[in-house]
Amino acid sequence: MSIEFRKDLFADERDDNLNEIGKPKQRQDIGGHVRGRTAYYDDHLFDGLLHMRCLRSPHHHARIRSVDSGAAERMPGVRRVVHPSDVPNNLNTLLSLIGFGKDDEQLLSDQVVRYMGEPILAIIADTEAQARAACAAVRVDWEVLPHVLDVEEAIAPAAPSVNPAYANNTFDYGPYDHVKLRFGDAQAAFAQADHIVEAEYEMSPIEQAPIETCGAIAAPETADRFVCHTGTQALFFSLGTAAKLLNIASSRLHFIGGTVGGGFGGKVDSITEPMAVLGAILTGKPVKFQWDREEEMQVGAPRGAERWRIKDGVMADGTIIARELTGFFDAGAYTRLSSYAGTKCTGHLPGPYSIPNVAANTFCVYTNRTPATAMRGFGITGVDFAIECHMDRVAEVAGIDPISLRIKNAYRDGDMKAHRRVAKNCALVESCQVAAGKAGWILGTEDMAASSMAGSTPERASIPQTALDEDGKINERRAGRTATTSPVKGTKQLPAGTHGRSHVAVPVQRPDMQIAPERVGHDDPAARGAAHAPAPVAPPVAAPLQPAAAALPAAAATPTPPRAQPAAASQPTPPASAATPPAAQAPQLQAKPYKPDEPFQRGVNRPGASRFLSGARRR
């Protein structure tokens, strides 16, 4: 396999004296791999290792009437039956560690299961076979509830409610039940178009399917600590999550990871680590919690399913003048990372094309399917598939060569993107030219002469007057007061040229190494009143999470509201609160950030620091 470098392209944009890139280089870990000596989490041997297995729901949606584990407890080798009540703080959402979303998922569910395979109990035994046999001996009385497996059925008013934290079956991108992106006036532009091209696209869930299944081994260590060997892709995330669920100081957790037998996004959900540590706490012994292949496929969170409807307004010459997108991310039963997929995706719309009128509604929907999570470019991959299929369809309708169509509409350096950031370092034109060459596809001279560095115009570089609407406020859809999922006609106008909030990355830590509370995100009354100087930063935008937020038109109407008081500074802005239209945009409307009901008894309890992460090195 050889890599071809096209150093002729954008030659003056880089200092071209690369020493490593483009030259073969051995992986530093390859010696261990080929000798079979790389130590993955399961390659740590412990004397007296116990094995933990979960009892899982056979139903998509059911209430647990009763659980009888008496027989299982008496079976040979069984050390401990772990019940939901054994989990000290049995409610979490992954992104609570960065202050995004509400706690909505239990480690072991005690009342209702919301997807097939949801765990309700665990058994720790001397051998894996004993743990399996004991799980099979537990009797559960299930009351099967109606379920919903389709995103659009789930947001219909009569649909069963999946997740009580989001009773409408949509993630709250306050004040709306979806992420809004508005740029120009797509509805008006459609009337000018020569062709309207509409289609729907769908992507199934995709399992990351790493060859090493998810798992962890935890064991009591010296100094009242627990060591945890894990295959996680997100070591400190897993550590923080374990500390929160188990209500234990993170300084008592010694996590060892970094050697992952394939992850691809499927090993960020931090489930096996708290389970294994809980097992070690309850038994005082080393405990392994490892998914088998069936679990990896059934309950391992996949890339979530997506459905997209795209409507384009196209001129006879192939210029796309308007694009409307309606997208549904299937989160499954719990949020995990799907809420982020919705915002991340919105920052990517309408794809790498300069389109003057764009309107998009993106939903993150709860269904009774396996919760979805990260996988390679999630949030982007599915919609890109849809957009590129749609470009081919547009080319066909307009009677234009599909590559030529892409070159015509591709971003040029300096163009204004729909989320109000300037396009830089564009390369789609050149990619099209090179790909056409490789495929022996003949392009016209004009297309071959095109360049990403030329072609932007003052018009393409400007922010148009934008039509805004307030359709789809939280609770209205379920009540039957919101008719459509697609963007509706705007009723208010945002003046041309209105920019979004400026983006200032919030540092993770202060110079004194204290975690910045507004970044970590747990609302902490003590911290609010504390002597800590308010962070010397602009808005507390969790930058990596919210590419679209700052650019949403409504946010544009509020150029960087000054922080009234330090209290506000500790509240991370949920991404779509930025979408508050001018009329309704009182800051009070912003969704409240995460608030644990009770303070944690153990763990770091210091003004300004997360209780789950002991990141302070000196104090």
Binding site: P24, Q26, G32, V34, G36, A129, P210, I211, E212, R293
Partner: protein, 161 residues
């Protein structure tokens, strides 16, 4: 429950362990015999990460009853390198970027060894067939196939570009 003794040759060394009668050979090798090179990826025969050689033939250790390995001659990736130097297959995998996360690598190497021991000059199609029971989620297989062909060439003294 009484454990059962099993003795076999593991990478040339006489080995004896005690196992639960229903235990599979993968777990027995890893936990009892201490050879961690075969990996658990499925326990149902689908991934090939646990591939070992029994009497020279490729076997899935996760689907082999440990007690049935009595008197068997077992080889694993853990015993592939004769010493400080790597086996030609290992060297070719290392040079050819044929492992990323490395979790499939032990099984791939054993499947490849079974092929080259029988057929020192395989065609590309024969290599593909030989690793058809082994899944890799990282490499896309091409570097692995190339590396196996490269190893065959190295053993033959043929030089590949």
């Amino acid at each position: 429950m009484p454990k059962t003794p099993v003795t076999f040759t593991l990478n040339g060394a006489e080995t004896g362990i005690f196992v639960d009668p229903g235990l599979n050979l993968l777990e027995a090798l890893r936990r009892e015999a201490g050879d961690l090179s075969p990996k658990f990826g499925c326990g149902q025969g689908t991934c090939g990460a646990c591939t070992i050689l029994i009497n020279g033939e490729p076997h899935l250790s996760c689907l082999t009853l440990a007690v049935a390995a009595q008197d068997a001659d077992i080889s694993t990736t853990g015993g592939l390198a004769p010493g400080a130097d790597l086996h030609p297959l290992q060297q070719a995998f290392a040079d050819g970027f044929a492992a990323q996360c490395g979790f499939c690598t032990s099984g791939m190497l054993m499947a490849a060894k079974a092929l080259l021991d029988r057929n020192p000059r395989p065609t590309r199609d024969e290599v593909v067939e030989a690793i058809s029971g082994n899944l890799c989620r990282c490499t896309g297989y091409d570097p692995i196939v190339d590396a196996i062909l490269d190893a065959a060439a190295r053993v033959q003294g043929r030089v590949t570009a």
